[in-house]
Point group: C2
Chain length 328, copies 2
């Protein structure tokens, strides 16, 4: 194809605030390990006060994925709503520093740039509490039609279904993309996000989404079954390509003709699983762009996810192009 961008990602633009906690803390705060909870400003302030020293870095599911893609050399664009504040400046800097096109106008007033309290337990699992802030105002006006038309793949995160106006923006992107013959990729984001929007996500999978990303819990939740293989086969019917991440076990990948399991790599230095799914999607999509087989796409996803879990934070810590050249 001769489009200007390989991938356009649209998502909630969020700065992560990372810290270590123990399991008792999650328990006492009624948080469900491994999940993402939406919280309001008051709850966020209350929770933040109880946390120890933190580290801040750019995050957001689709933001992490597009950062990974750009780091691998893909031509990338991003859309997401910030406020003109210090967290907004951080997020914008980090996206643009990777050569990603990012021109969504930040809000001049209203709620602050979104942040996510990422609580990392000793087992390297992360539990997230997100204050959506400025994200809730991403609207269809923020969708630059020309960029959607000139991107081979448009990648959307399920979390976009939480703020109401973003849903409209999401639908607008789908309709432009399909009219232009471009592909839609979609991540289910989180089991609870799936349960909040199950009917919508099911109809998206059947009609609108070409490439579907999920983890085991999310795909089972979507198809209302406890049987992973059954869920995978149902997803295969709905979408051209499906990638289901299975933690250390690797992933299950399908296209219309094939279904297979791509084993994960042994990670010796597991520190923080934040961003594992996002970077898996980056690796997989990089494979799709590079016309790799479905199995190779899964292996690339596993490889790149394996890098991000060896350090705190959800963005790659190194140049992924060099990393793939060495380890791919």
């Amino acid at each position: 194809m001769t489009n200007k961008y390989d991938v356009l990602a649209i998502g909630n633009a969020i700065v992560d605030i990372l810290t270590h906690v123990d399991d008792d803390f999650l328990e006492s705060e009624n948080l469900i390990k491994g999940s993402m909870a939406l919280i309001d400003e008051e709850r966020s302030n209350d929770l933040y006060k109880k946390l120890g020293q933190c580290v801040e870095c750019s995050g957001g599911s689709a933001g992490n994925t597009i950062a990974g893609l750009a780091s691998m050399g893909s031509r990338a664009a991003y859309m997401g709503k910030l406020k003109k504040d210090q967290f907004g400046a951080i997020f914008k800097h980090d996206i643009k520093s990777l050569g990603i096109n990012f021109e969504t106008n930040p809000a001049e007033d209203g709620p602050a740039t979104a942040h996510c309290l990422v609580l990392v337990t000793p087992d390297a699992e992360r539990t997230m509490c997100t204050y959506l802030g400025a994200c809730v105002n991403l609207s269809e006006d923020d969708i630059d039609e020309e960029i959607v038309r000139s991107s081979d793949i448009i990648y959307l995160e399920g979390y976009l279904w939480d703020p109401e106006p973003a849903k409209t923006a999401f639908r607008k992107a789908i309709s432009i993309a399909h009219a232009a013959g471009n592909k839609m990729a979609f991540s289910l984001s989180d089991p609870f996000c799936v349960s909040r929007h199950r009917e919508d996500f099911l109809s998206l999978a059947k009609d609108g989404i070409d490439i579907l990303f999920a983890n085991e819990d999310e795909i089972k939740m979507l198809y209302g079954t406890d049987d992973l293989n059954e869920a995978a086969l149902l997803a295969q019917k709905d979408c051209d390509m499906v990638a289901i991440t299975c933690g250390a076990k690797g992933c299950i990948v399908t296209n219309k003709n094939e279904i297979g399991h791509v084993q994960g790599r042994n990670i010796e230095n597991l520190v923080d699983t934040t961003g594992a799914g996002d970077l898996f999607a980056a690796g997989f999509l990089h494979g799709v762009i590079s016309n790799k087989t479905i199995g190779q796409c899964g292996a690339l996803g596993n490889l790149v996810a394996g890098e991000v879990i060896t350090h705190m934070g959800a963005r790659p810590d190194i140049d992924l192009k060099e990393f793939i050249a060495k380890n791919g």
Copy 2:
């Protein structure tokens, strides 16, 4: 003593923005490796635009030292000027999360909370560019006399000599502390900081400072000699205790009766030397508070500095009390 606090630290309250660069970048930006340069807002914006993805965390030399002390279990207080903005909220949170008393009123308007671009080269050396922002407005009104009087040791960073009003605040703290019979500790901060304020720092060392911290370059610059031993002996005459850090070689420590070299520990996983001097001071002062010998104080400084250089960022990544119990 029966004072309320073991250590009160006063310093420039700064949020660090950390990233990796190569040596060519420092060259092309005319930056001197290992040093700290003061930059204005325009230069900061220009430089930031040229950097790759960054990570943000609380910093500031004296802030890092007091964070280390609190993490070791010392009763700690801090004074430093922030603005009421997102970086200010981060800094305040991180200090308070460690149980440190911190009540300096943040500025409602004027320049933003200070930040420091920390450029880490592959050899783990850091080069810093600081935009002082709100720090320049720390004034004598911000010095809470009651807290100064009720702290066994008042720790000041040389960087405080850069913003004019902070110098007056600094002098006020010394005069209150000495009237109360409390000890003054002082870090020379940076060779260029010493060259900017050499005459003042010399008279402080001779009259006002009880415990002096420096690295090799700083102490040589202060006493105008290329001979490290000569500089150490001159410092020994001026101050009750002196600790000179010598990188991987460890430190030279003196009191009025003794002078000695405490060898450094082998660090296998050297990542980022940011905060090494600050955390050395924390370990050393913790030894002083605990009535350790001068050699034991130096060894504690080496031990704690050795932790902070194994990860990005200048604050301890773990509970230092547990770390010392295991390794001390």
